[in-house]
């Protein structure tokens, strides 16, 4: 440092006395209105040495909870704003939502066409396939609605716009997820629910309260599993910024896969989506139990009740991956 020509230096003899620094807050001319903001903040900031030693590297559960609450609040704020802005053009919204519904519906039309030629697909009847399809579609639709914007993260990392989210007093995950919140994605959920409704009406099942409860459970934990995949995929994009398609293959691809019964697929693939990427817990395991169908890979039937646990585990892992990804970003920059 000394070898550099630090002429001037501070305090520079030539510098006029720093009145601005010493002056607590200048109540300049024309600011009759609000009291200068720095005043109260400065006082409030006085004796708080304890906070400096707070080990934020390992946040306490209370901190986690506060972050979660703040995240949900900010998510709500941003999403609400996008909804309001969508609703200013109602007709346009109606058209895109219907288009979304139609596009996803074609998907199921293909299956219907298939069944005009065959009576069963890999041993499953149309209503049974419809149950798998509706459950996967609805769960995925919910996750897509809530987290579908996550695949834009790679681009944000590339062009550096993630920086602008990091200077706001809100969790980055919530800000990324809620960005461009698109109600038109309701189309997919609607279609999923319609197919699911058709399945539940036509299926001949001996309903018990437990089996009935499994349907909503399947949708919610399935949505959580898919959502965790969106988050984990986004976390991966911190490292590989062009990996949006890898993420899509697990989310959109996973959804397509789950619309068919496991008997259609090779055992190794089924093994993979059970033990490696737990997609099987979205609809296969709970739905096959409801249908009274044998499990693939000779899995035990009690696994039908584990999706909420698996979902919780997935979310925890995805959260950890996200934090790790964000940490690499913050130590390397763009």
């Amino acid at each position: 440092m000394d070898e550099r020509p630090r002429t001037g230096g501070s305090p520079d003899p030539g510098t006029p006395p720093r009145t601005a620094g010493g002056r607590p807050y200048a109540d300049g001319p024309g600011t009759a209105g609000p009291p200068p903001p720095t005043g109260h903040l400065r006082q409030a900031d006085g004796p708080r040495p304890a906070e400096h030693q707070r080990p934020t590297e390992h946040p306490r559960p209370a901190d986690r909870l506060r972050t979660l609450r703040s995240g949900l609040r900010v998510y709500g704020l941003i999403a609400a704003m996008w909804m309001r802005s969508t609703m200013t053009y109602r007709a346009s919204f109606a058209i895109t939502a219907l288009g979304n519904l139609a596009a996803t519906s074609f998907d199921f039309v293909v299956i219907l066409l298939m069944f005009t030629h065959v009576d069963s697909l890999a041993g499953y009847s149309l209503p049974e396939i419809a149950l798998l399809y509706g459950a996967a579609g609805t769960a995925f639709g919910l996750a897509d609605l809530a987290m579908g914007s996550m695949d834009r993260l790679g681009r944000r990392v590339r062009d550096g716009t993630l920086d602008t989210l990091l200077v706001r007093p809100a969790p980055v995950l919530a800000q990324v997820a809620a960005d461009r919140f698109a109600l038109r994605r309701l189309g997919r959920i609607t279609q999923g629910l319609l197919v699911l409704g058709y399945a539940l009406l036509t299926l001949d099942i001996a309903w018990t309260p437990l089996k009935a409860a499994m349907v909503p459970m399947m949708l919610l934990s399935g949505a959580a599993i898919f959502a965790s995949m969106f988050v984990a995929g986004a976390a991966f994009q911190f490292v590989a910024q062009d990996a949006a398609e890898v993420q899509n293959s697990f989310t959109y691809g996973g959804n397509t896969l789950l619309q068919y019964p496991p008997t259609v697929f090779a055992k190794d693939l089924v093994r993979g989506v059970t033990f490696v990427v737990p997609l099987a817990f979205v609809n296969w395991l709970p739905a096959l139990h409801v249908l009274g169908r044998p499990y693939p890979l000779d899995l035990p039937h009690w696994l039908a009740f584990t999706p909420p646990l698996v979902a919780a585990l997935c979310c925890a892992l995805a959260g950890a991956a996200w934090r790790a990804g964000l940490r690499t970003y913050r130590s390397t920059g763009s």
Partner: protein
């Protein structure tokens, strides 16, 4: 506020709002050298910087491209985590308590917007209002003030993407100030703006600093920004602070040269005129250098008398040349 200290372990509260002590930032840059082989090089973007900024001061932070200006700003906002050293803004360690700090700072990136791109300007402000939990009355006052001084009235309902660069910059500055930050960081706030917009932005910042005693740290390429706004200027080059003092002092250390660009009506040998020396000839156009402290008038008069002048313009020394000069005239080599 002196160091005479209290016996307790409490940190001494000084008037310094920003404190840096030997702050470093090292990036690992991986470069592909073979098919699979990768070479890791370490880049010291910021190499041990120490300075303090008292509350209410307005400081220019300048340096050539890649000198480490933006990296410093990113560490001060908590976007990047320093590799070493100690850094405090308003007593907060930015990288550890990013969200807590975010409420107390405002950031404007010249190159990218913090506004929501597809939404009307006013929507961004409403969101900031809720996100920062700004009291309603305070929000209204601040918004009115910004709208009036930055001339935003007609722009509030325009989507951000339709704003011109100058309009967007003003919009961004307003968004950064709605929550009454104690510190405002401006990263190249006048880049790409026309003369009128530049003047408007500068005037607003000056008023902000005098009336509200907001501490302002601004990076820029434009020495005029510094001349008109900052009493103090810090120069950074290759990650090190090479100057910290007044702008006048900077010119003393490294007296820059202004350039006179002369268009003659035909090709002529290099112009010979008292007080300036020819530096470049390109067809009928010639470049003359003269000391920044000297007046251009006598030179121009002499030129007009002896040469067939078509046009001429004066160029101010840019930061790069001032810094280059500083190195050239440095008494001791490193």
């Amino acid at each position: 506020m002196t160091e005479e200290a209290t016996d307790t372990a409490e940190p001494v509260r000084t008037a310094d709002l920003i404190e840096l002590e030997g702050v470093e930032k090292v990036f690992d840059v991986r470069r592909r050298t073979g098919l699979v082989r990768r070479e890791k090089t370490r880049v010291r973007a910021v190499d041990g910087i120490s300075f303090t900024v008292p509350r209410g001061e307005m400081v220019g932070y300048i340096g050539p491209n890649g000198a480490g200006k933006s990296t410093t700003i990113k560490m001060l906002t908590g976007i990047l985590t320093p590799s070493g050293g100690r850094l405090r803004v308003a007593g907060i360690d930015p990288s550890r308590e990013r969200t807590r700090l975010a409420r107390r700072i405002g950031v404007v990136f010249g190159q990218r917007t913090t506004l929501w791109w597809d939404l009307p300007l006013i929507d961004s402000y409403r969101l900031v209002h809720r996100m920062y939990r700004i009291p309603d009355a305070r929000y209204r006052q601040n918004l009115e003030r910004c709208v009036e001084l930055l001339d935003l009235g007609a722009l509030l309902d325009v989507p951000v993407r339709q704003l011109s660069l100058g309009q967007r910059m003003r919009g961004d500055i307003a968004a950064a100030l709605l929550h009454d930050p104690e510190v405002l960081y401006l990263d190249e706030p006048t880049i790409g703006l026309d003369v009128v917009s530049k003047a408007k932005v500068r005037e607003f910042l000056r008023d902000l600093n005098t009336e509200r005693a907001t501490t302002v740290l601004l990076t820029t390429h434009d020495l005029t920004d510094i001349e008109q706004l900052c009493k103090r200027v810090m120069v950074i080059d290759h990650g090190r602070l090479v100057y910290d003092g007044t702008l006048a002092g900077l010119h003393e250390v490294a007296p820059g040269e202004r350039t006179l660009v002369v268009d003659l009506d035909r090709r002529l040998p290099p112009i010979e005129v008292a007080g300036a020396r020819p530096v470049r000839v390109e067809g009928p156009r010639q470049w003359l250098a003269f000391p920044a402290s000297a007046s251009a008038a006598p030179i121009v008069a002499a030129l007009a008398a002896d040469y067939p002048l078509v046009d001429l313009s004066v160029r101010e020394p840019d930061i790069e040349s001032v810094i280059a000069k500083m190195y050239a005239e440095r008494p001791t080599a490193p």
